[in-house]
């Protein structure tokens, strides 16, 4: 049975494609983790490069498929008009192929140089000294350290990076175990955290907001749930937050909170977690100084609420199977006190 592509079928196929595209446009992901919702110059330049590439690529594709369809239609027509033999090579076809190749080459050259320009614009931070933050990747959480000129000023938090709006931020990336990759699509492309290397990435947030990122290099069981937040706030707010974070944790005020601190220090928590200002100084797990004011638990896995925190402490393996934190069977009163204590660490 010989049937070539008919005009009606081609229209139907085109309509179906448009419908699919419309559907896709409607089913978008959340805007706080998207490369198409740029909130800074890095991501912005890449987004413009993307749209340029997208429309160019679409044009190239449509032209190519149209050329194919036209060739098929012309051959059909010639056959129906009684052309017995196939045409031999002729100058026309050579010219056509050469034109196609030349056009492709031209498009590629334009794209290549545009890309080089974008690349060099993104390469180094602007001349102003950027804020430098050290990020160390662990299986499956992010250790974030703000260095300062004085040792007192240095503080460590986990899974959240606060940055001032409108200022360049330089991240120094290292890994404690396997290769991770930090990717906050609203702000910048990704960079690997390779053990044994220190890489840097810079970005700038121009709009205040909370941007979510995720690890983007397969790193083991809970690679899927190794998220982080970048919180961009006005410079004054950021300075206040940094100043507050340099302080050690507040001492417990009442008996329940005191009991909670005691549970923390004498149980298994202090073996892995540090709280500045107490004798818990282990670096094995994320620092819990300031956990009361963090937005998420488990590296972006759960919102930080009392109930979620209780569930996480009692059985983290149910939420992130394979994570390195063991379950903790605590007496209800102890758990209650511990939660109160942790919530007090703002």
């Amino acid at each position: 049975m010989r049937r070539g592509p008919t005009l009606r079928r081609r229209i139907a196929a085109g309509a179906a494609a448009l419908a699919v595209l419309a559907l896709l446009a409607a089913c978008r992901g959340a805007s706080d983790q998207s490369a198409l919702e740029a909130a800074g110059p890095q991501a912005g330049r890449v987004e413009r490069l993307w749209w340029f590439s997208f429309w160019t690529a679409t044009a190239v594709y449509v032209l190519t498929v149209a050329a194919l369809a036209w060739a098929a239609w012309r051959a059909r027509r010639r056959e129906r008009e009684g052309g017995a033999q196939p045409l031999e090579d002729d100058r026309g076809m050579t010219r056509g192929v050469v034109a196609g190749v030349a056009a492709t080459l031209a498009v590629l050259v334009v794209f290549f140089f545009y890309d080089l320009a974008v690349g060099s614009a993104l390469s180094g931070p602007p001349t102003r000294a950027p804020l430098t933050i050290e990020v160390t990747g662990h299986q499956w959480w992010w250790e974030v350290t703000y260095a300062d000129t004085s040792p007192h000023g240095r503080f460590t938090t986990a899974n959240e990076i606060h940055v001032p709006v409108g200022q360049p931020v330089l991240l120094r990336l290292a890994s404690r175990d396997v290769i991770h990759s930090i990717w906050v699509p609203n702000l910048a492309g990704k960079k690997d955290l390779t053990p044994g290397y220190t890489q840097t990435i810079w970005f700038q947030a121009d709009t205040p907001g909370v941007y979510r990122g995720q690890c983007a290099e397969f790193c083991g069981h809970q690679h899927a749930k190794m998220g982080l937040l970048v919180i961009a706030e006005p410079p004054a707010q950021f300075a206040a937050w940094a100043k507050h974070s340099q302080q050690p944790a507040p001492e417990p005020g009442d008996s329940v909170t005191r009991r909670g601190q005691e549970v923390f220090l004498t149980g298994s928590c202090a073996l892995c977690h540090a709280i500045e200002g107490t004798r818990a100084q282990s670096r094995a797990g994320p620092s819990l100084t300031g956990i009361g004011s963090r937005r998420t638990l488990g590296a972006g896995t759960l919102p930080n609420t009392r109930g979620n925190l209780a569930g996480w402490i009692v059985d983290p393996q149910r939420i992130k199977p394979g994570t390195h934190m063991p379950p903790n069977a605590l007496a209800p009163a102890d758990l209650d006190a511990l939660l109160t204590y942790l919530e007090s660490l703002k």
């Binding site: 089913c27 192929v97 196609g100 995720q214």
Partner: protein, 653 residues
């Protein structure tokens, strides 16, 4: 020099006319019966069909993995499959598809088609060919059995260290991966050697280089690519990674002077050419199909051949584009951007030449032709996203996200699977003597076409919206649920298309319409013999006088007689102009390739568990090699040109 007689033979072959010669050839080339015959055969066609079938089994198994993965990802926070099992599934999906399906099925088709297309009786080294298949089978079975034993590798198909290193990958899973890679490398290297030797030295008289079919050029290019690319990953996996894990060497241990980045370089130096090794034979398939079904030679033959070589060559200069997020200097990265962008030129040239061929030809839209056209429509989408990914800033946004997953599935499905299915519909009549159903074929094509697009197009958007690769689940607040569900539904279309294809093959293998020698009216030499071909391929050696011999031949084609029929031999010709040069004895059936493959199997499977396996395996391999190469005394052959009726002489090696 041999004396041959130039004469003509009828097309299609007339066995009644040549009955006596055919009977003698039958006696000489007859395969043995029963299990022993099945294990010892060296007939390239039996081995290749077995090889293709095995690859399709692995395709189904790896595809089943993908179906399970898509079910898990259909909803956020789904609990169908846990992280440990999911990691094994996606690793074995990738490893199985890349190492056990995509490359081997292309080499297997080449092992079937190349001797027929160049007009000779068998591949250059028939026993080596058998060995290559057995090694491949052992490796593939080892991988999937390991998966079902909970020992399947779980660190991704490219197995980055340190995650796959001794500290972070407990157990034997990654060791299994490292050794499976070796089996497939050996099989691929064997196929490469076979193709190069056959194409360069065994072509039919008159088939000078400028008359070689485009498909044969494509597999010659990948054979050379295999020679340069495969050893890298074999060394990196079997030697360096396995040794790091088993005997505490420090190749990738930064603390002791090694480097995890070394693994990435070694792997991707292989890994990028690997995807072109899969893709370039697809280009060859498309050329053969379009040529036949437009009724004219492909436009621009020299440019087509040059494009194949340029693609193959430049493919070795792209590998760092997989590592743009790593600790590499920016200037170096720009070179790889340039290479990655401009490698589209040769492939684009080929597409324009095909369009020109269709424009000036008389197209017939059989299923094979639909797949060839579908290749263009699907592959170009993957091609343009590939150019986007060549850009460092853009790649840094979408690297290791679902955008990349969408890209490579488009290029693999479009560039490998579509041409492969087209090739199946095209050459199944030759292999089995029966036609596949065109009606089921159209269903197959449309289901696959729709399934491919519905499954993978949404993934572009998922990647741009922040969804990373290799995640076993995702949070509901991300908003990725609808597109993932759509992709899962699309995967059911793909599965359905494969089912339709299997039904088609099973029904047609016995009950399809009987195919003659040349049901499609194709121009190349494999259609000059019966369907399926006899063990000796061609009763008379074809003589080639043009690029499309069967179209110029008319009712009879020129042949050369003079090869002996009382012993197995083929004609060796010169490399450039295919002038007959000498004749060469073809070895007959042997069990030693299987024993050698088993020795290799013992070595590398045992090496997962103990280094002593190398000692045991080396010993066994030496014994097997001795048996394989053991010289056998032969009688002096009678002068050429006279048929000797006594028992055939056998020579060693």
């Amino acid at each position: 020099m041999t004396t041959s007689v130039l004469t003509t033979a009828p097309l299609p072959p007339d066995h009644a006319r040549d009955a006596e010669e055919v009977a003698q050839l039958e006696r000489t080339w007859r395969a043995r019966r029963g299990l022993w015959g099945w294990l010892t055969t060296v007939d390239h066609k039996s081995i290749a069909i077995r090889y293709v079938a095995t690859c399709m089994v692995f395709f189904l198994l790896a595809g089943a993995n993908a179906a399970l993965m898509r079910l898990q990802l259909a909803r956020p926070e789904n609990t169908f499959i846990g992280p440990d099992r999911y990691n094994q599934l996606f690793t074995v999906h990738g490893t199985g598809m890349m190492f056990l399906f995509a490359v081997p099925v292309m080499t297997a088709m080449a092992l079937y088609l190349v001797p027929l297309m160049v007009g000779t009786r068998d591949l250059a080294y028939p026993r080596l060919n058998a060995f290559g298949y057995w090694v491949f089978l052992i490796g593939g079975v080892f991988l999937f059995v390991s998966l079902y034993l909970n020992m399947g590798p779980d660190t991704g198909w490219f197995s980055y260290v340190p995650l796959a290193g001794p500290e972070y990958a407990p157990g034997k899973r990654v060791d299994v991966w490292a050794q499976v890679v070796t089996f497939t490398e050996i099989a691929a290297l064997v196929a490469a050697v076979e193709i190069i030797a056959t194409v360069l030295k065994l072509r039919a008289p008159g088939m000078s280089l400028n008359r070689i079919p485009l498909y044969v050029w494509s597999v010659l290019v990948i054979a050379f690519m295999i020679l340069f690319a495969m050893p890298t990953v074999a060394i990196a996996s079997t030697l360096m990674l396995a040794m790091d894990r088993l005997v505490a060497t420090h190749f990738f241990n930064r603390a002791e002077g090694g480097d995890p980045l070394l693994w990435q370089h070694l792997f991707w130096f292989f890994g990028h050419p690997e995807v072109y090794i899969m893709f370039i034979p697809g280009l060859g398939f498309v050329s053969a199909i379009i040529e036949t079904f437009t009724g004219r030679r492909i436009f621009g033959y020299p440019v087509m051949v040059l494009s194949l070589f340029v693609t193959g060559f430049v493919a070795f200069g792209l590998w760092v584009h997989h590592m743009f997020a790593g600790p590499l200097p920016q200037l170096g990265q720009s070179f790889f951007t340039a290479a990655s962008v401009f490698i589209t030129i040769p492939t684009g040239t080929q597409i324009f030449c095909w369009i020109a061929t269709i424009w000036s030809g008389r197209p017939r839209y059989t299923t094979a032709m639909l797949f060839a056209l579908g290749f263009i429509v699907v592959f170009v989408i993957g091609g343009v996203t590939g150019v986007m990914l060549a850009s460092v800033p853009f790649d840094l946004q979408v690297h290791d996200s679902y955008f990349v997953v969408a890209h490579f599935h488009y290029v693999i499905l479009g560039g490998v699977v579509f041409p492969l299915f087209g090739a199946f519909y095209f050459w199944f009549p030759k292999m089995a003597g029966r036609m596949l159903s065109e009606r089921l074929g159209k269903w197959h094509f449309w289901l696959l076409f729709i399934g491919t697009n519905v499954t993978f197009f949404p993934m572009h958007l998922l990647g741009l919206d922040g969804m990373p690769r290799r995640v076993y689940t995702y949070l509901p607040e991300r908003g990725w649920g609808e597109l993932n569900l759509l992709a899962t539904v699309g995967s059911w279309f793909i599965a359905a298309s494969v089912v339709v294809f299997l039904v088609n093959v099973l029904k047609s293998a016995r009950g399809g319409a009987v195919a003659g020698a040349n049901p499609w009216g194709a121009p190349s030499l494999e259609w000059a013999t019966t369907s399926p071909p006899p063990s000796w391929n061609f009763t008379h050696t074809p003589v080639v006088e043009s690029r499309s011999p069967l179209w110029e031949a008319g009712p009879a084609m020129p042949v050369a007689t003079g090869l002996r029929t009382d012993r197995r031999e083929f004609l060796v010709t010169t490399a450039l102009d295919a002038i007959p040069d000498s004749r060469h004895e073809v070895p007959d059936e042997s069990i030693w390739p299987l024993i050698m493959a088993l020795a290799i199997g013992v070595t590398f499977i045992g090496a997962v568990f103990t280094p002593w396996a190398y000692v045991a395996g080396f010993t066994l391999a030496s014994v097997a090699f001795g048996g394989w190469a053991f010289p056998r005394w032969s009688k002096a052959p009678p002068p050429p040109g006279r048929l000797d009726s006594s028992s055939p002489a056998r020579e060693g090696a």
